[in-house]
Symmetry: C2
Subunit: 487 residues, 2 copies
């Protein structure tokens, strides 16, 4: 049920259109369709765009066509952002021309009940008649960063990434890019699936399972309609890549909210926990955790066990990391005698070489990023390293100036040192094939060290607890994958 | 045990020195004492500083003195950042001159065991002989933002705030200012208490209880030595201001880490939970949560119950907020008939007026910030409002341009609208005396709306879950305070 290659996916043209017939954009700047077309242009999509409009002849520089039947070719995809009453006839016209894929952003269907339900039935009947696969209605569209395609109504502000997402809320496709960019992560592809009248979360998950740009799959779920297909599809994917789900329907409050949002009927936590367990899907407890888990799962090599070494030069953050590890099922082994022997020449007398390894400071700054993590990750009991980062460019600069480097040189020199440090950790990560997860109270935009680390594939989270929980997700994935491949 | 006024606190001069004798700064820029003195100068402390140094005659522009006995007056405070072996004799000399307060940053005492323990005993004996109260040793010093005093070795980057903190880790006093500044909060006073040889966490808590700049007290705890005094002092404070504690010694891993950090022996979770319950102290489960709770507790009027209305224009974030409320003991009441009637003219037909109130959009943008929250918070079943913020300056600008406002005007006009919106919510908050807590995936530095709200006293957290948990902390504080004042 996962396509053998992504091109064979039935929904491939929805995420990878070479050409789009666009319905709903005009020279009225306040129309939602105009905003979506603006977003598509802003990100630099290189495919062909054919606006269809009864009156306007040119829209945002594109030649517009009065009727679908006027189009010079059969586009891969119809993008429909029209008032509810004309959606069915528009899909019909697309089908007649031979268009076989659509995204229907328009709302006013099942989610409003009554007449809307009738309209949605008509929509699915038209799709069936022509063999059309469509996303929506009542969705916010699709993002494929690797195609520079952002067909939503908000700008996409993060970079190209490895997280493939299918979401029962459009907000989590369109509104999370500032959050993602703060950790240096991004979407590969994001689907807002809306009412799932035709393409559903299972279809999107299968597509993302085959997508070569997607290393990890994120799901936002208010309810699962095809339970059996969900489980089977997930089980086929999980041996190859992890799936993380954030499910909000399990509490009374979440269930009621989901019902008024998409009209879907959710089930209690134990039921969904059972589905996730059978599926091999990791459950996240918040939207923040969903992205944290995906971020670290996509960045890290497989973990072999739950034994973590914590490296720090500050006692409190080290103790908080140790405590968070303990509370999340991770174990902090004592260092072996061999490791202690190898560490000795590199640590000051004030250091504690228990685990956490609290260096207090390091004689040579690069030691913290090279020699010491090298020794610690080589320990036979270490499955992963959780490491605290503090140093800022400004702090290094002050030390350099104290050592006699002139004011006008120290800034550049500090940046140079930071790149060396980040390179050292990244090279170690490549070499040892054990996860290295960082945490820091400094943000990417405040610290060139954090940015350099993240850009080199070392995930750095904003607190010890979030780092520890993400490491625990790696262990969870190891166990789920093993169960599925052995079972 | 709480001083009747802050000036009567025995440790008042430690946080409010008019003059400081400084030991350990020199013209050697790499010395830690020099860095601390640099931080004191950088923040603009206006009191007198007397560096004491055997050779240097001028340090950072201050006249330096060879011996303590050479000082022209008896300073309020001795600040000691010297090598371990000379600390005891330095405190003795200070005592002889008549100095009665000290901060001892130097390490190498109880925390290293052996000879260090002996040295710490000598230190406390000298203090007893002269009636000296001192913070430390093995601490990172004190910050009093309202005095522009940052006597640590890292710059303080947040603003003046209302969080008073006493911490058994110096890192959480010195390294959290970027984190705090990201939410627009800051310390009133922060104490790094180190080995607690003389002044301990109970003394600092009592001081903060009396401090008029402190609205909420944050504690980082690896162990409590004076259990009875802790409970009694906390119980005297909690009716007046909330106390939040982050305790890491409860897990095996946290306990071991704390032991190697400060040599303190922690107790299991149930024991400490009992202490916190008796004390009326709210326990935070992470350092992030400690600051979140303090942020919202300090910003909000007292909550009257656990009934929350969620206001959003995006379904997913609304559902996530509802779910998080449910999981944290908060209740989402249905709107009364009167509220529904009052809402009707202001909401579009696509809106859901269940709770969450999902507006999808608002006809008049200011409605989201004024009329609608006014109606919702006036509902007789509403104890608090949890509200989602999305709009960016850029989005408002696009709408304005669509409405015909010229490009060169739209930026300023958008900022003007944002200020109006933030003013409207802040005015409502003042008027209704019910907590209004915001959440947004946009950060303060990315969005002038978020900054404007936070600067007007409306707390905005970075996710629905963190917003919900902070609201639950308000309810917890209400219950704890009632129990203490009734008992």
């Amino acid at each position: 049920m996962i396509p053998s290659s992504i091109e064979n996916s039935e929904i491939y043209p929805i995420a990878n259109p070479g050409s789009i017939a666009f319905f709903g954009a005009s020279n009225n700047l306040a129309a939602m369709g105009t905003t979506v077309l603006g977003c598509i242009c802003a990100m630099g999509y290189a495919g062909k765009i054919y606006p269809v409009h009864p009156k306007d002849r040119e829209i945002k520089g594109f030649q517009a066509f009065q009727r679908v039947s006027d189009l010079p070719e059969i586009p891969d995809l119809a993008y429909i952002v029209l008032p509810t009453p004309v959606v069915v006839e528009t899909l019909e016209a697309c089908g007649q021309l031979g268009i076989r894929h659509a995204v229907i952003v328009s709302a006013g269907f099942n989610e409003v009940g009554g007449q809307g339900k009738q309209l949605q039935s008509e929509l699915t009947a038209v799709a069936e008649k022509y063999g059309i696969r469509f996303l929506g209605p009542n969705c916010i569209g699709v993002i494929n960063t690797h195609l520079n395609l952002n067909a939503t109504f908000l700008p996409y502000e993060a970079g190209r990434g490895y997280i493939g997402m299918a979401s029962q809320s459009g907000s989590f496709i369109t509104q999370m890019s500032p959050h993602m960019s703060r950790l240096g992560m991004g979407f590969s592809t994001g689907f807002s699936i809306g009412n799932e009248a035709n393409v559903d979360i299972v279809d999107c998950m299968a597509y993302l399972g085959a997508c070569p740009n997607t290393r990890v799959i994120a799901l936002y779920i208010e309810s699962i309609r095809r339970g059996r297909a969900f489980i089977d599809t997930a089980r086929a994917i999980v041996p190859k890549k992890p799936i993380v789900a954030f499910y909000v329907g399990g509490s009374d409050e979440g269930r009621r909210a989901g019902f008024s949002h998409t009209g879907a009927l959710a089930g209690p936590d134990p039921l969904y926990n059972g589905v996730f367990r059978q599926s091999g899907v990791i459950r996240a407890s918040s939207i923040e955790e969903l992205f944290d888990f995906c971020y670290v799962l996509g960045a890290s090599p497989p973990i072999q066990g739950n034994r973590v070494i914590v490296q720090t030069h500050s006692g409190g953050p080290g103790a908080a990391a140790a405590d968070a590890c303990g509370r999340n099922g991770l174990h902090l082994p004592a260092l072996t005698a061999a490791t202690l022997e190898r560490l000795k020449p590199h640590v000051p007398h004030t250091a504690s070489v228990a685990n956490p390894v609290d260096l207090t400071f390091t004689k040579t700054p690069l030691d913290f990023f090279q020699t010491i993590p090298q020794i610690l990750t080589a320990d036979e009991n270490a499955d992963a390293l959780l490491i605290y980062f503090l140093a800022t460019s400004r702090m290094i600069q002050v030390v350099l100036e104290a050592l006699g480097v002139s004011d006008d040189m120290s800034g550049d020199k500090a940046e140079e040192i930071i790149i060396q440090q980040a390179d050292a950790i990244a090279a170690l990560g490549e070499q040892i094939k054990k996860p290295i997860v960082g945490f820091s109270f400094l943000a990417r935009k405040e610290s060139s060290l954090i940015r350099a680390l993240q850009d080199r594939g070392i995930p750095v989270l904003p607190s010890p607890e979030r780092g520890a929980r993400a490491l625990a997700a790696l262990v969870k994935y190891k166990n789920l994958r093993e169960k599925l491949t052995q079972g």
